[in-house]
Amino acid sequence: MTIRPNTLELLEKLDDAFRKQMIPLLDDDHAKARAAILVQLIGHLHQRVRIEGECLWVEYAELRELLSDCGSVFPSIDIAGALEKASAVIRAEQYPSVPLLVDRNEILRSCLVDVINALDHLPAETRGLWEARVFVYLRAQLDRDLLLSTSPALGDAAGSAELPLV
C-alpha cells in the first residue's frame, strides 16, 4: 500500500502553509528571519527525500571503483580491508536504508582521506595521474552535494534566509 499524500506532498503542503498562512502574520524581525530558515529547511528536506538515496548509491559505486584502482599504489593503506568492510555493511537480503548506505560510504570516504593525505608521498611522475583520478571523484561528489544542498522554491515566495553564515 502506498500512503497518500506521500512524503513529498506533505512537505509541499507544509511549505505552502508556512509561506501563505504563518509567515505573513509575523511582525518580529527575529521570528521572520527564523521562519525563512524553516522554509529553507523544508525545501532541503524535500530535496533529500527525493534524491539522497540515489546519490549515496552512486557515491558508493564511484568510491569503490576509485579505491579498487589505487589499491596497489598506496601499500601503507589497507584499501582492500576498507572495501571488504564496506561490502559487509549491507547483507544481500537486507533492505539498503539511507542510514546503512551512509555507514557503508563512510568507511570508503575515510579510506579516501588517507589516500589524499598520502598523495604527496608518491613519486612526482605518478602523483599527477592519481591526483587527477581523485579530483574526478571529488568533482562528481561535489556536484551531487551541490544538488542535495539546493533548496528548491516549492511555493511562490522567495525562501532566502538573507543571513550570512557567521
Binding site: 570516504r109 593525505n117 581523485v134
Partner: protein, 350 residues
C-alpha cells in the same frame, strides 16, 4: 524583583524565552549597578543578526544621583552551541584595545565570562547608531553612499592592520612570525575540523593538502578583525558608525582579513562586499595601508577563507546533532558546505 528595579517592563508580544532573558537581565543589572534606583529594561528584542552569538537590543533607564538616565544597549550572549567557539574575555579585551587605538567600536558596559547570571557568558555594550543590513547597503538607491562607505571600509581595515599591536593591551601573548602565520592559521582550523566533524570529508582533506603546499610568507604581522565584511559594520548615511563582531580577532597575516573580505558570498555582482571591483579594492588597500598585496598570497588567503567557512558549517552541523542549541539557524549550516567547497574547487582546479 530586586529592590532597585522599576515596577514593570513594557508590553511585549514575544515568547517566554525572552521573558526569561528579561528577568535575568534585570536582576543582573540591579546587582551590577547598586547605586541606581528605578531601573527599567524595556524594548528587549532578539535581533535577527548573529549566527554565532545571541544578540538582543534593549533600552535601559534608571535614576542616578537624582537624575534620570536612558541608554540604548546590546546584549551579546553565548549560545550553548555555535558554528564557532570564541572567548568573550578575549573579544572584550580586543574591543577595549582597538577603542583606545581610535577605532569606532561599541563601548563595553559589562562582561561576564562565567555565565552565571544569564546562564552563558555575555557582554553588554553600547548600541551604536546605524544599521548593518546588507539589504540597505546593496540597494540600488544607496549606490552613492556605498561608494563613500566603501573607501572608509577599506581605510579602517588599513588602519587596523597598521596599528602597532605590540604596545596594545591584547590577549595574544604568543604572536606568530611572518613565516609561521599561515601555517598556524591552517593548523588551528585543521584541529577544529578534527574535533567537530561528524563524518570524513575527503574534499576538505584535499583543501588542507593544497593549503599546506601553498603557505605564503606574511608581509608583516597585524591585528586582524577575523570577520571583516558586509554585515559586521554599522552605517548611517555615508558614514561607518562602528565596526562590530570582534570575536575572531587575532594576530596574523593582514592578507588573511583581505581573503575573507574577498569571499564570493559577500559580493554584489563583481564588486567586493558591494564596493569596488577587485583591482580597485586592492589598489585602495595598498594606498591606505602601505602593505603590498601579493596576488599569489591573496589567492591562498581566499582559499583559506572558504576552507575556514566550511569548517564553521561542519561545526554548526555538530551543534545540531549534539543538541547543543535550540537555534534553528544551525540546522541549515551544512547547506553552506558544498557551495563553499565549490569556491575551493575553483582555486584547486577541481
Amino acid at each position: 524583583m530586586p529592590q532597585n528595579a522599576g515596577i514593570e517592563r513594557d508590553e511585549m508580544t514575544q515568547t517566554t524565552a525572552i521573558d526569561d532573558v528579561h528577568a535575568k537581565l534585570v536582576a543582573y543589572l540591579c546587582n551590577a549597578m547598586p547605586e541606581v534606583t528605578d531601573l527599567l529594561v524595556t524594548q528587549l528584542r532578539r535581533l535577527p543578526e548573529g549566527w554565532s552569538r545571541e544578540c538582543y537590543s534593549f533600552s535601559l533607564a534608571f535614576e542616578r544621583h537624582g537624575a534620570r538616565e536612558s541608554h540604548e544597549l546590546i546584549l551579546r550572549r553565548d549560545p550553548t552551541g555555535s558554528i564557532v567557539y570564541t572567548d568573550r574575555a578575549v573579544e572584550s579585551m580586543v574591543l577595549r584595545a582597538v577603542h583606545a587605538g581610535g577605532m569606532r567600536v561599541p563601548t563595553i558596559w559589562f562582561l561576564d565570562v562565567d555565565g552565571g547570571p544569564l546562564d552563558t557568558p555575555f557582554m553588554i555594550m553600547e548600541r551604536m547608531p546605524g544599521t548593518s543590513s546588507p539589504a540597505v547597503l546593496y540597494a540600488d538607491d544607496y549606490a552613492d553612499h556605498r561608494a563613500v562607505i566603501g573607501r572608509e571600509f577599506i581605510r579602517q581595515l588599513a588602519e587596523l592592520h597598521t596599528m602597532d599591536w605590540s604596545v596594545m593591551d591584547l590577549p595574544f601573548p604568543d604572536a606568530p612570525s611572518v613565516d609561521t602565520a599561515a601555517e598556524r592559521a591552517v593548523a588551528r582550523w585543521e584541529k577544529t575540523l578534527q574535533e567537530q566533524q561528524l563524518q570524513s570529508h575527503p574534499f576538505l582533506a584535499q583543501s588542507l593538502r593544497w593549503l599546506r603546499n601553498n603557505l605564503p610568507v606574511a608581509p608583516r604581522i597585524s591585528l586582524l578583525h577575523g570577520d571583516y565584511r558586509t554585515g559586521n559594520f554599522l552605517f548611517e548615511g555615508d558614514q561607518i558608525t562602528a565596526v562590530v563582531d570582534w570575536e575572531l580577532a587575532e594576530l596574523g597575516d593582514p592578507l588573511e582579513d583581505l581573503g575573507w573580505v574577498f569571499k564570493e558570498l559577500w559580493m554584489l555582482g563583481d564588486k567586493i562586499c558591494g564596493f569596488f571591483e577587485r583591482d580597485e579594492f586592492i589598489r585602495l588597500y595598498e594606498e591606505f595601508s602601505g602593505i603590498h598585496v601579493d596576488l599569489d598570497a591573496l589567492r591562498f588567503w581566499e582559499m583559506y577563507a572558504e576552507f575556514r567557512h566550511g569548517i564553521m558549517a561542519v561545526t554548526g552541523a555538530r551543534t545540531i546533532v549534539d543538541k547543543k542549541s535550540d537555534e534553528i539557524n544551525f540546522s541549515i549550516s551544512h547547506l553552506y558546505l558544498a557551495p563553499l567547497e565549490n569556491e575551493q574547487a575553483k582555486v584547486m582546479g577541481i
